[in-house]
Structures are given as C-alpha cells and as structure tokens.
Symmetry: C2
Subunit: 432 residues, 2 copies
C-alpha cells in the first residue's frame, strides 16, 4: 500500500468538536492514517502518491450501514407500488431467478456507484453472500457481508451454514471484510432461528445485521405473536448481547429506544427507503437526544434507487425538520456525522473508520466544491449536505488505496461491469 | 438561431399518454420545435448544429416555478435555524447590504447552476429585478422576473413602479422574458396594495407571482385580520381574476383548493424548502386528485440550498409517499410531469414550453444515463426521478440555442461569474 498524501484540502475530520481545517492534508502509510492536520510546509517527505485536492473537502469515506447491494439489478424495476404487491408480484419472482453470477455483477455495479459517491464501507444483507464478498474483495472496498436467514425459504434457513460462511470469510478474506450474520427480521425468523443466531454470534464474536420495526404492520404481528415489542423480544432472546446493526427502527417507542441505547444497538436509518415505501418517519430527533448509536443506510437500490450517502444525509436533515416542525433538528453537521462516524459505530467499526484520526484506516473521500452549485462557500457542512451531490466526489480511497479518481477506477473495468450487470438485469427481469 | 437536431436520444415528450420514444430525435428551426419523434433515417437534411445524445434522455427543460435567484449568494449562510430567527438575524440584515450589482452576479451564478441542471425557465421574485432580468437576457435563459412588493419597506412598496418596470421589460426585452408583478404575500401586503396589483395585472395582462399560505402562522394572521382564508381573501380582492403563480400553498384546506382549481391558479410546490424551513407538507396528493395546476419550484438557495428540479421532483415523489403512507402517490412519471408541463402551466407558459411538441419553443435538456448509478435501465421515468442527478445533464438549450454542453457554457464566462458572485457573497456576509 505504501504512502499517500492528500494536500490542499479543507479537512473535516468528523471528530466531535474539531473545527474544519481550511488548508489541511492527510498522510497515510500502509493503509493507516499517519498524519492529519494543517498543511506542513518545508516537509521534504516523498510519498508514493501525492494527490492535490485542489481546495476540495477531504472527509472520512461514507459508511453505508444497510444495503442489499446486488439489488442494483432491480433499480427502477418496480416503483410507486404498495409494499406487499411490490414484494410478491415483482421483487420475489425476479429474485427467484437470481444466480450467483448475477449477484456478483450486481454487487460490482453497486461498488462502482458507491465509490463514485464517496462510500468506502457497506453492510450488506443478500442472497449468495459469497458473490458479494468476492465483489468487495475484487473492488477494494470495505464490507460487512451477510446472507439472509429466512424461516420460510429452505435454501437460506440454515444458521449453521451462515456461521460457516462467516468463519471462512473471516479466515480467508482480507481484514477489511468483516462477515456478519443476517437474520432477516423478528417477524420472518422463528424463535429457534433467532436463538441459534444469538448463541453463534456470542460464541464466535460475530455481529448481527437485522431488519427491525420497519413497518407498523410487522410490529403488530410480533406483538400479537409474542406479547412483546420487537426490541423486547430480541432482547429476551439474547440477540442484543451481541453487536447488532438494526436497519430502519421506524416504529419504536421510547421504552424500546431506551433498550436500543443501553444495549448500544447500531441503528441504520434509511430515510429515502422509508419515504419511498411509505414505511413512516423514524423518531430520529428522539434517537439523537437519547444518545442512540445512529447511522445511515441507503437500503437496496430497488427501494431508493440510489446508493448515495450524501443524498441520505440530506434526506435525513430535511424530512425530520418537516416532520417535527422544527427547522433546528438534525443540522448539516449532525447529518454528516451520522453518515460517517455514526454509521461506522452502527456497523461496529467505530474504532477503525468513520473519522480521520491517526491510527485509523485511511478510508476517505474528496469532494470538489468547484462547480457553480457549490458557490459561494459560507459553511462547509451545509455545502456538503444541502448543496453538493455525489457527482462532486473526485477521489475515494480505502486503506490508503485510491479506488476512484476523476472518472476512473484504477482497479476496475467499469465498462465491462456495467455491461455484465445490464445483461444480468435483462435476464432476471425478462425471466429467461 | 438557425436549425438544430438532437438525435440518438430516448425522447420523453411529456405529452400525457405519449410513450417514451426509445430512439428518437428532435429538430428545431428558428427556436421552435419542427419535428419530434422516431429517428428518421435517410433524411439528408443539413442542420446548423447536430447533437448526438449518445443514448441519453431528451426531455423538455425543467421549469422552476418559484425562486429568489440571487439568494445563491446566501447559500449555506444560515441553515438549521427557526424561521423568524433566520429571517431577522441573518437573511434580512444581509439582504439590506445588497446592491444591484450583487443581484446581477448572484442571478448569473444561479443561471449557471440551473442550466447545468437542465432548467430552462424560472419565475423569480427578488430585489433589484432589473439586475436579474439583465442576467436572464445575458444568460440566454427564459425567465419570468418580478420584484418584491412589500408593505413595510419603503423602497419596494410602489405598485406603480413595479408596473412600470414590467411594461418596460415587456417592450424592450426578448420575448422569452415575461415580467410579472410580485406582491410578497397576503400577510405582508396591505389590502390596498393587493387591490392595486389586481387592477394593474388585469389592465395590462400581467401575471402575478405571490407567496401563499406557506406557514400555519401566517394563515392564522390573515384569518384573524380579514375573517377570510388567504385564498378567499385574494379571491375577494380580485387577484385571482389574473394569472397567478402561488408559491407553497402548504396550509390550504379543501375549500381553498377548490377555488385554486376553479381559478386555474398555478401552484408552485417547493418540497425541499418546505422541509428545510419546517413549513409542513403541502396536500399534493389532494391537489393532483382535484386537478390543480401544479408545478414545482426550488425556492431560493438560502432555503434549499440547490436550484435543481430533479431533486425537487424526487423530493416531491418521496415525501408525499412517506407523509400519506401510500407508496402509490406521485409516481415518477407524475413527478417529472409536475416539474415540466405542470410547472410551465403554473407560470402561465403552458402554451409555449413544458412539453416537446411541434410549434412549441425548443427548450430542452439531455440527461446522460451512462454512469453506473443509472444502470440497468428498467424504466426511464423512474431512472430520472429516483436515480439520476443534476450532474447527469449533458446539454441544455433554450429557443433552440445550446446554453450548456458537456461542462461548457457557450455564451457565458463561468469562471468570472463564480469569482464575482463569491466576491459579492463575501461582501454582504461580512457586512463591508
């Protein structure tokens, strides 16, 4: 990996209380941050790679705390529909035609998109997790892959196999690939399955990635069947004794929030998906005031349809103002923090990524403020969250390795990936 | 203006019921659309300009039905604040330092941004309307400029002067500049002022651009003072006998909506601004089902902070699903329609722009779907609204004249405009 410097940047470390460094630089060595701070003149160091940020903003790479990556193949395939109709007539029949190869190319397409948007890490839950894992390895990006454990689908109901997969990945893949267990949701997994997951996670120190209280309907189902709220239910089963990344948490009351805070459950808030599927408004201002471990995710491209954390930060900042009636909630700086440090903590990697600090992994992105829509510059946080767009990203690196720069992917053949993903999408949509 | 062809495009005419033309072209002559339809092979026509859209989407230019263009200068200057504090401690003191020259450069900056985002027409309400008008003339864009008529500010309380300005513009500016009268809002203009505006608009056939029922507070004020709802009040004063573009309409009940529909009042819905300032959720699904004349606007860059109609279309499609609990409301196609044909009608230019039809003005944009985030392509409308971003725009033209193409502005010196606008922004923010 060698050494790399990025200079001539406005640096946002995203360390709480730290001011933007208006003329700053970052140096990484062997994948770790060695220096971050003001520009040092007269330093005669020689770096393997020296990047001029040209006045752009250097900040931690975004962490996408919840996605189903290969669903890029279904982007735009079924929009503006009621959830059950969407699932039963469009998504599930199409997914049934998925093969491992499709998932690889769909994941690769998603990796192109995420790197282009400054995302350096993602927590994935999808079928054929081996394919998504291979894509993350090939793509150079940091990933927390898991399969989907679902009670009623025979192929994917074995906790044993999921654990085996996770252990093999942990042993054989680069350290930036951190496998998790992926029980789908409290309402779609049996009590035995959830208990098995809890035990295996504890035994092997694996994180758990699960959907939690996304819709009012599913919450009612769990309450009816168990007499407990979904959060209480998971807690009783011992699942929250492990690190858990819980996607959505739209319909949680204060008592549940208290448990989530106490157990340090990572919440992956997905504002665009919650709006698009009309799931509702998660109590985000309340989560923040209660000190929840709050991150952001894009969800899959079928319910977004972008993998773009700048968009999620903006959506979160905007919709919770509108919904609460208070324009002061979720400031631009808070939204950006939730998309970086918050999301890193939510997936259990708060010690390694999510802020620019010496000793952490050199996962970062550079966002240009050169075009008209980013002028004038009164406030860097506001500019990124409310004015900038994914296309303003000019450089993205993971472990100090540049994976996207100025329209090119040094490690990837973008044209081929797009063609192969298009082919897969045509096949599964056409049913051939 | 001569002749121009755009070929090799997916054409969305935005004429209701018309299917996308998967390999289509458009020809304009002397600023008007002469042909739009499938690719014609073997036509040996010679065009002054021939543009290969390379498979991108050709659609009508977006119409921004409500903005305060030169507020680009205040982009990011005061965010995440309560409305009254925002206005009194930040926006108004800064605006008090504005000079005519600042408005010109701020408007020019906004024009760069809008052309880059596929916007070909905007309805503006701001101080020093002469400067914004000159900017629109110089920038080649279509505009409906108006000043701001406010009761309590001496300089801008003369309806007579506003009418005079409008008549001079109508007489001297190119026909694509359509002046309007801009009374600020029912609560901030006296009854006499609104009556004068109504009479002058009727006498001279001028349109009226006004804020209407943006916040619950102002509605209460009008009801308290007049005993009428804001819509009834304006109707009683005769204002709605003219073409009116009413920005926001967040807090309108069914009776008011009926009046708005009956009087064909153009509604400029501003979803991002309504969220950012926590004004509330306009009853957009109800407006659509009642057949309202509904368009979209960005509002000013201080309350957005973008001038990006793709973002407004997406925000509208997303937040009204979330707020209504129905994922079927405001489909991608409807959202795109509201941003083009709807907005054109809302500003009173439905006969000239807003759809691609023979005889209409050749105002169009081309959006590339080449990058990873726009693959695969299952549905063109979904792709544009949910997946594409402003940066995907590769070409924007007004009256058949290309104003933006592949990073360049043939008529404008972008670097100089940005530098001058930055300078103005520094001066007014710094108070020098």
């Amino acid at each position: 990996m060698g050494s790399l410097r990025v200079h001539n940047a406005i640096v946002l470390t995203m360390v709480p209380g730290r001011q933007p460094i208006m003329r700053g630089e970052l140096v990484s060595k062997d994948g770790l941050i060695e220096y971050v701070g003001p520009h040092r003149s007269g330093i005669a160091d020689h770096y393997d790679q020296d990047i001029d940020a040209a006045g752009g903003v250097l900040l931690p790479g975004f962490v996408n705390a919840h996605t189903h990556l290969a669903m890029t193949l279904l982007r735009g395939y079924a929009d503006d529909m009621p959830l059950q109709e969407w699932l039963t007539t469009r998504i599930w029949p199409t997914e049934a035609r998925l093969q491992e190869d499709d998932v690889y190319w769909g994941a690769m397409l998603g990796i192109l998109e995420m790197l282009r948007a400054g995302i350096t890490c993602f927590a994935d839950m999808y079928h054929y997790p081996k394919a998504a894992t291979q894509a993350a390895i090939d793509g150079g990006i940091r990933a927390l892959p898991s399969g989907v454990l679902l009670q009623f689908v025979e192929d994917i109901s074995s906790v044993e196999r999921a654990v085996e997969f996770a252990l093999v990945v942990r042993e054989t893949a680069p350290s930036r690939i951190v496998p998790m267990l992926g029980p789908h949701a409290p309402y779609s997994c049996s009590i035995e399955m959830l208990e098995q997951v809890a035990a295996a996670a504890a035994e092997h120190g694996l994180g758990v990635h699960i959907h939690l209280s996304e819709t009012a309907d599913e919450v009612r189902r769990v309450v009816d069947e168990t007499g407990l709220s979904p959060v209480q239910y998971l807690d009783k089963l011992g699942l929250l004794d492990n690190h858990v990344t819980a996607a959505h948490c739209v319909h949680v009351d204060d008592a549940e929030l208290e448990t989530l805070v106490e157990r340090r459950v990572g919440i992956a808030h997905c504002p665009t998906s919650n709006m698009k599927l009309a799931s509702g408004f998660a109590p985000v201002p309340r989560m923040l005031s209660m000190g929840a471990c709050l991150g952001l995710g894009t969800d899959g491209a079928a319910s977004n349809n972008r993998l773009d954390m700048l968009q999620e930060a903006r959506m979160a900042a905007l919709i919770h103002k509108g919904h609460s009636g208070d324009p002061g909630v979720l400031s631009a700086e808070e939204a950006l923090s939730v998309a970086t440090t918050g999301a890193a903590q939510a997936v259990g990697l708060g010690g390694q990524v999510g802020s620019l600090q010496v000793g952490k992994c050199a996962d970062f992105t550079v966002i240009s403020l050169a075009e008209a829509h980013n002028h004038p510059l009164h406030n860097v946080y506001s500019q990124l969250v409310y004015a900038a767009q994914a296309a303003d990203v000019v450089c993205t690196a993971v472990d100090g390795v540049v994976l996207y720069k100025d329209g090119t992917y040094p490690l990837l053949d973008a044209e081929r990936i797009i063609a192969r993903a298009d082919e897969s999408a045509r096949r599964i949509a056409g049913g051939q």
